[in-house]
């Protein structure tokens, strides 16, 4: 296959970026998208040009590291991760535009690599159950209905890739945050801290500069793990419930705390 690639090149965080065009004629349909870029990079290095930087690690669709915006869609035409996308999804002779995630809270570091540390900070704000090592009761002490456990698992499969943010015109991180809130709110172990958790995570999400959710559902459509917007509904319920009865953040409840 022969392709024309329009790739975003940007030397560093504070430099101006621009699209560069490359003709790539060593593409086979069995290659993964990232392997196609590997081959391009080998060619570039041979010519003395700096290779295109992009994030990746597992190349199995699970680590959440790969993050390319391909032809106007996060992770490209299929609902999968970039690393699981293969060149047989493209046509010979096609022009493919490759950009980094575009969202203010995800600044570009270099070329197609962005900084997603905001996601870690949101998790640090409350995405956990407080249990010290060694303090746990027997694992079968609390039976959890299979349906609930399965639903919690559906939410927990989020890989933290950020496609939901990149897909959203408001750069909202609601799907990502909802996945964690929902996972832990569904499980009995997570109940003790459910109010603080949702309040803190939402507060951190706002502080990082992610936009508001206006229910466009673009996130769900692009999420490689099929995380459902139903979790956003649960987040909202958790949030309002917490706000009504909050003891964690009194200032939000109207006091000057």
């Amino acid at each position: 296959m022969k392709l024309t690639l329009k790739i975003w090149r940007q030397k560093g965080p504070n430099e101006k970026g621009e699209f560069k065009t490359y003709v790539h004629d060593k593409v086979s349909p069995d290659m993964s998208f990232l392997e196609m870029l590997d081959v391009l990079n080998t060619e570039l290095i041979k010519k003395g040009e700096e290779p295109v930087h992009f994030d990746h690690d597992c190349r199995e669709g699970i680590c959440g590291m790969c993050s390319l915006y391909i032809n106007g869609r996060p992770h490209g035409p299929l609902q999968t991760t970039t690393c699981q996308l293969h060149m047989r999804s493209f046509k010979d002779g096609e022009t493919i535009t490759i950009e980094p995630w575009r969202a203010k809270p995800f600044p570009v570091i270099k070329d197609l690599v962005v900084d997603r540390s905001a996601f870690d900070r949101i998790q640090q704000a409350g995405g956990y159950i407080s249990v010290n090592t060694g303090a746990a009761p027997d694992a079968n002490e609390i039976p959890i209905p299979k349906k609930i456990a399965d639903e919690a698992m559906d939410a927990a499969t989020c890989i933290g890739c950020g496609a939901c943010v990149a897909a959203c015109k408001n750069a909202s991180a609601m799907l990502f945050v909802a996945a964690k809130v929902s996972h832990l709110a569904l499980l009995p172990q997570g109940h003790a801290e459910r109010k603080e958790r949702v309040e803190r995570m939402v507060a951190q999400m706002d502080a990082e500069g992610f936009g508001a959710c206006t229910n466009t559902r673009a996130c769900e459509a692009e999420c490689p793990k099929g995380i459902s917007v139903a979790h956003i509904a649960r987040l909202n319920r958790e949030y309002y419930n917490a706000m009504l009865t909050s003891y964690e953040l009194p200032s939000k409840a109207g006091g000057d705390g």
Partner: protein, 640 residues
């Protein structure tokens, strides 16, 4: 140097309890005076960091990914073992211990393995309390499955994403400590060296991968939780960034390396599709429960999956069923892998490269119906189709073995301490518990055992004897390590040769795969040693790394890692050469029975090979830790 494994006295089942009692403690109020560095945030690192911070120590963690949550542990699929015996099917701590020792072909320490089985039950409790959504039965209790040929159902799982869920659990525990100010996390930061002061590990040198800034960090102890080195082979199921650099550099600073040649090759991976191949994808081994492995009796060049149906039953060789009637397609990983290699070596392999065998579900679909098979393997079939474009409901899958795991690693004593005082190794980075072959679902167990339940006890014993004083990173030892590390980076950048890092890495991988892979012999290993030396020399003269050291430069990161792989590879070959027996994943053609099965040699080789670095281009020195078996009787494995 004498190796002291520090295995406690007493009956097997009481060793760990007694040992814990005898270990010195650090007073709760004094823990905050100690700083601990944890390199790596996979299952081993994240669980250790969280647990140590909960105890009150000050912890710094490092990983090269952009978030601790992306460590390679995330990719583990199948599950985690624990001797809970929730299924009432006869499991026990002793049985898990026994299976692990036997599965490791009697090349692991009894005491370590017993402890692993003992704490396995606590791991599941801990993970459930953190909110890990393990699979459950309709009654709401935890579900189990039998895994990798085990005769009891002791494997806990979260769909096909067990590693992900366990890691996210450990990551969340670590996040809680970050929020509490007890852990400071440094993502996109790579460790370049360990710093040893007065004979003790007192810090590390790191590179900020975004700015290229080199920094020194001092501490009272350093934990390496940096994973395995399967990527020596270039193609493996490991994540692209998985590397040996941290362990290797510690080795060069004095930490002995244990059993470097013990590698696990997994039989069910998607075959290589072309020269562009960058990694191999594992297909769960549960597929062998229903899939039948075969190749044509006579070579058929380039046989595709679509044409497989044209080969009549009488022309097919179900070689595992034929050679191992008792176990059939469920023989252990090493046996299945080796036999796939043999039939391909005979020219009977299938697919465009001839390096694949069929894994055929047509009989299972006929027997149980498509629905049942879909319920069992639906997601795996989808994944296979996505990668290969073939539909396994209609045509057989093609599989081939791939490097998957390294049992070898830094030598550690019972306390998980390397031969450098104050330097510990946890998880896949150490050599400890799996002997010459790891059982399925046991790596996750070991990583979490090390991090949650072992290091929090054993590190106190060491720190209790240490002064509180911090040491300054202005000391000459730090300066020197910085100079060395920067010097190496600049040397790599200054070569400006003709070949890319990947080209060298691929060549190295081919040498290792051909001569130090599934089947090894003296002649081949000697040849490999020579080839590796030549390749290494060429690499340092002809590699081309563009860009600079003070920016994000992924080629430089790779070059640095590959340069270490080139050194480690030679040690793997040396180790494979010296071990003239077949055991577990290490098959020496010279040590086989008449019908070609592995022959272990307990009289000469029932020891851990621990290698000591002696300087550049000097032969390494072998130290032996004799293995004593007081509880199990050594038997030859047989699957006939």
């Amino acid at each position: 140097m004498t190796l002291d494994s520090k295995i406690p006295d007493g009956p097997l089942a009481e060793k760990w309890t007694r040992h814990k009692f005898n270990l010195k403690l650090v007073n709760p109020a004094n823990k905050r005076k100690y700083d601990i560095i944890v390199v790596g945030t996979g299952l081993a690192g994240a669980s250790a960091a969280a647990s140590l911070a909960e105890l009150g120590y000050n912890v710094k963690t490092f990983c090269f990914q952009d978030s601790p949550r992306r460590a390679h542990s995330i990719a583990a699929q199948g599950g985690i073992n624990a001797a809970k015996n929730y299924q009432n099917d006869g499991d026990s701590v002793y049985r898990l211990f026994y299976d692990t020792i036997k599965g490791g072909d009697y090349r692991a320490r009894e005491a370590n393995v017993y402890r692993l089985a003992e704490v396995s039950v606590n791991i599941i409790d801990q993970c459930v309390a953190q909110g890990v959504p393990f699979a459950r039965e309709y009654g709401g209790l935890l579900a189990n499955r039998s895994f990798g040929g085990a005769q009891v159902s002791r494997t806990f799982y979260a769909r096909g994403q067990t590693g992900q869920q366990l890691l996210l659990g450990a990551y969340s525990a670590m996040n809680r400590q970050i929020a509490a100010g007890k852990v400071k996390s440094y993502p996109r930061t790579e460790m370049l060296d360990v710093v040893v002061v007065d004979g003790r590990a007192r810090g590390i040198i790191t590179r900020d991968l975004i700015t290229g800034k080199i920094e020194a960090h001092s501490a009272h102890a350093v934990l390496l939780c940096t994973g395995g080195y399967g990527n020596v082979f270039y193609l493996s199921t490991n994540a692209k960034g998985s590397n040996a650099s941290a362990a290797w550099r510690a080795h060069k600073k004095g930490a002995l390396f244990g059993n470097p040649c013990f590698t696990q090759i997994h039989p069910t991976c998607i075959p290589v599709s072309g020269h562009h191949q960058s990694k191999l994808t594992l297909m769960s081994e549960s597929l062998r429960n229903d899939g039948r492995v075969w190749v044509p009796k006579k070579p058929v060049k380039g046989l595709t999956a679509r044409d497989a149906a044209k080969i009549p039953e009488s022309e097919r060789d179900y070689f595992l069923e034929r050679r191992y009637p008792a176990f059939g397609n469920l023989v252990p990983r090493d046996v299945a892998s080796r036999n796939a290699k043999y039939v391909c070596d005979e020219g009977r392999g299938v697919g465009p490269t001839g390096l694949a065998v069929f894994l055929d579900f047509s009989d299972a679909i006929k027997r149980d119906g498509k629905k049942t098979i879909e319920a069992r393997y639906g997601n795996l079939f989808d994944m296979y189709q996505q990668i290969t474009g073939d539909n396994p409901y209609e045509v057989p899958m093609m599989i081939y073995p791939a490097v998957h795991y390294t049992m070898g690693g830094l030598w550690v004593d019972y306390n998980l301490m390397t031969t450098i005082p104050g330097l510990y190794a946890l998880g896949e980075a150490n050599f400890s518990d799996h002997g010459a072959n790891r059982l399925g679902a046991s790596a996750l167990m070991q990583g979490l055992a090390d991090g949650y339940f072992i290091i929090p006890y054993t590190i106190g014993d060491y720190l209790a004897g240490m002064p509180y004083e911090k040491i300054s990173t202005d000391r000459p030892e730090f300066k020197e390590a910085i100079e060395q590390a920067t010097g190496r980076l600049h040397r790599l950048l200054s070569i400006k040769g003709k070949k890319t890092v990947d080209e060298y890495h691929r060549e190295l991988g081919m040498i290792m795969w051909d001569y130090c892979g599934m089947s090894r012999n003296e002649e081949g290993l000697k040849l490999a040693k020579k080839k590796i030396q030549e390749l290494r020399e060429e690499f340092w003269q002809n590699v081309n790394v563009l860009g600079s050291a003070n920016e994000l430069n992924m080629e430089l990161e790779k070059a640095n890692r590959v340069s270490d792989f080139m050194e480690l590879a030679e040690l793997m070959v040396d180790d494979a050469l010296h071990r003239r027996e077949s055991c577990g994943g290490h098959f020496r053609e010279e040590s086989a029975t008449e019908d070609g099965e592995a022959r272990r040699n307990d009289n000469e080789f029932a020891y851990v090979a621990a290698w000591e670095y002696k300087g550049e281009n000097q032969p390494e020195v072998l130290h032996k830790e004799e293995l004593k078996f007081e509880n199990v009787k050594l038997t030859q494995r047989s699957y006939k």
